[in-house]
């Protein structure tokens, strides 16, 4: 890959990821400051605004350093590490700045009893489970098909199989044929299809974080946000399953010598998935805000309640731990989407199982590349 192309991709990638990080303080629910519930009044205070400004300045420096390092690697060494290093530096910088801001925000948190817990009594149905169920079924079907297809073609594959392709779809790296090498992508199709579809289903039934005395406004905002997130995750799961399955079939065709490169359809699917993921994240953030924050409007002055507002149940503002709460997914305090209730053994088990599957796949990928 030419240095200029590498540079262009690196800059685009850094800008996109950086833009998502920069959205976080803007989409947060009123009352939450860098993972700490400080109350709606303190949230609007000069101290809170000053902290947010400092965080933005820090992130600007992190982004600039990331781009500079990536540019140096791209132009001087023309190495693909130029695509990984800036995002890695950005993410580490983002985490470091967040933890710094979290500690400062804790000093602004009010003393006193924990906030009340509030639950609506109106009958509200979660988003339909049909779409997540369908995506899981598609994930299983695609994964099973990809595995069966690769297995059937295994003996006919040559001694050396392609494992990496350049941006035009042509193979640029090969490894000796082995079951892990050939089955990696089909296994990923199965695991990610089921995992992402399952995540969509859990999102549809996630814990609600309401405001008190707001005539149901936060409940309505929450339900709209959850529906939108469920659809987004279901779409991501479907695209991932189909894309990985198509890639697996295409790679087998290239390995068997029936095609010189990956097909345009498979490459296009990969592009659609990236656009869906990034575009969807930005759209959800701008249109809905975290937890429906941008739909709460004037009612956002009323206090947040238990779960989302109780600082006792949050570790570093990122990890929710409440053994009494049967919820598996709860709304994140900083960022977009949901996080697990690590005090619930079912959630912990799901996390462990999915993480183990990903780790195994990564180890196989590392040993076969």
């Amino acid at each position: 890959m030419s240095p200029m192309l590498l540079l262009a991709i690196m800059v685009a990638e850094t800008v996109l990821v950086g833009a998502v990080y920069l959205l976080y303080p803007w989409i947060v629910r009123k009352g939450l400051l860098f993972g700490v519930y400080v109350g709606e009044e303190v949230f609007d205070s000069a101290a809170a605004r000053a902290l947010t400004r400092l965080w933005y300045r820090g992130m600007a420096i992190v982004l600039a350093v990331g781009v500079a390092v990536g540019a140096a690697l791209a132009l001087a060494a023309a190495t693909p590490v130029a695509l990984v290093m800036p995002v890695t530096l950005q993410t580490l910088g983002f985490l470091g700045l967040y933890l710094w801001a979290y500690r400062r925000a804790r000093r602004l948190a009010p003393a006193g009893p924990p906030p009340a817990a509030v639950a609506p009594l109106a009958a509200t149905l979660p988003p339909s489970p049909l779409l997540p169920a369908l995506t899981m079924a598609v994930g299983v079907a695609c994964g099973a098909f990809a595995i069966a297809h690769a297995w059937a073609a295994y003996d006919a594959l040559p001694a050396s199989v392609p494992i990496h392709f350049d941006i035009t779809g042509e193979p640029d790296a090969w490894r000796p044929k082995s079951i892990p090498t050939v089955m990696l992508l089909p296994a990923m199709a199965l695991v990610l299809g089921i995992g992402l579809g399952g995540l969509a289903w859990l999102t549809a039934n996630a814990k609600r974080g309401l405001r008190r005395f707001d005539q149901g406004a936060s409940l309505a905002a929450q339900m709209r946000f959850r529906t939108a997130m469920t659809r987004f995750l279901s779409g991501t799961a479907l695209l991932t399953s189909v894309m990985l399955t198509a890639m697996s079939v295409s790679i087998i065709r290239v390995g068997l010598g029936r095609a010189p490169a990956l097909g345009r359809w498979e490459m296009a699917l990969a592009g659609v998935l990236v656009l869906w993921a990034i575009g969807g994240t930005v759209y959800l953030s701008v249109r809905y805000g975290q937890g429906g924050s941008r739909l709460e409007n004037a009612n956002a002055a009323t206090p947040l309640t238990n779960g989302i507002a109780d600082n006792r149940n949050w570790v570093l503002g990122m990890f929710y731990v409440n053994r009494n709460d049967p919820s598996i997914l709860v709304e994140r305090r900083f960022g977009l989407g949901y996080t697990l209730n690590f005090g619930n053994w079912k959630a912990a088990a799901l996390f462990a199982a999915f993480t183990a599957a990903i780790v195994v796949l990564l180890i196989v990928a590392a040993t076969t590349s």
């Binding site: 817990a117 609506p120 009594l121 109106a122 049967p326």
Partner: protein, 132 residues
């Protein structure tokens, strides 16, 4: 059911959480805000919203069912019960005794008979309070 009806649980108070839940539901039912036949949230949903143990919500619902305020229909969940048409004398005796004790305490605290009548009217009025 009104869209803005909510339950609130306050932490750190002497009243147990399940009693807070039961008391608020009892008040809403008696005031007519929750009408007979209205479904109550599923135990898991309410426990998730409040961040409490499933058993805490189940205990509150059982308490209300024991006093005739809700009907628990297993997998179909719980719903608000209609007031009994014909009172069961056996179940009324302890309630009358409880009322007498509360009235004695109110009298000792200086509450007048008129204030007691107004309090009774505010509770009984929404469901008719017909005499037999």
């Amino acid at each position: 059911m009104e869209a803005d009806l909510t339950l609130a649980v306050e932490w750190g108070t002497a009243e147990p959480v399940y009693e807070q839940i039961a008391r608020q539901l009892r008040t809403l039912i008696a005031a007519g805000d929750l009408r007979p036949g209205s479904p109550l949230p599923a135990v898991r949903t309410l426990a998730s919203d409040l961040g409490v143990n499933l058993n805490t919500v189940a205990r509150a619902y059982r308490l209300l069912a024991d006093h005739g305020f809700v009907l628990i229909r297993d997998r179909a969940g719980a719903e608000v019960a209609a007031p009994a048409v014909t009172p069961d004398p056996g179940s009324l005796a302890p309630l009358w005794q409880e009322l007498r004790e509360v009235l004695l305490k109110l009298r000792q605290a200086g509450v007048t008979a008129d204030e007691v009548r107004r309090a009774i009217a505010s509770v009984v009025a929404p469901t008719g309070g017909e005499t037999r």
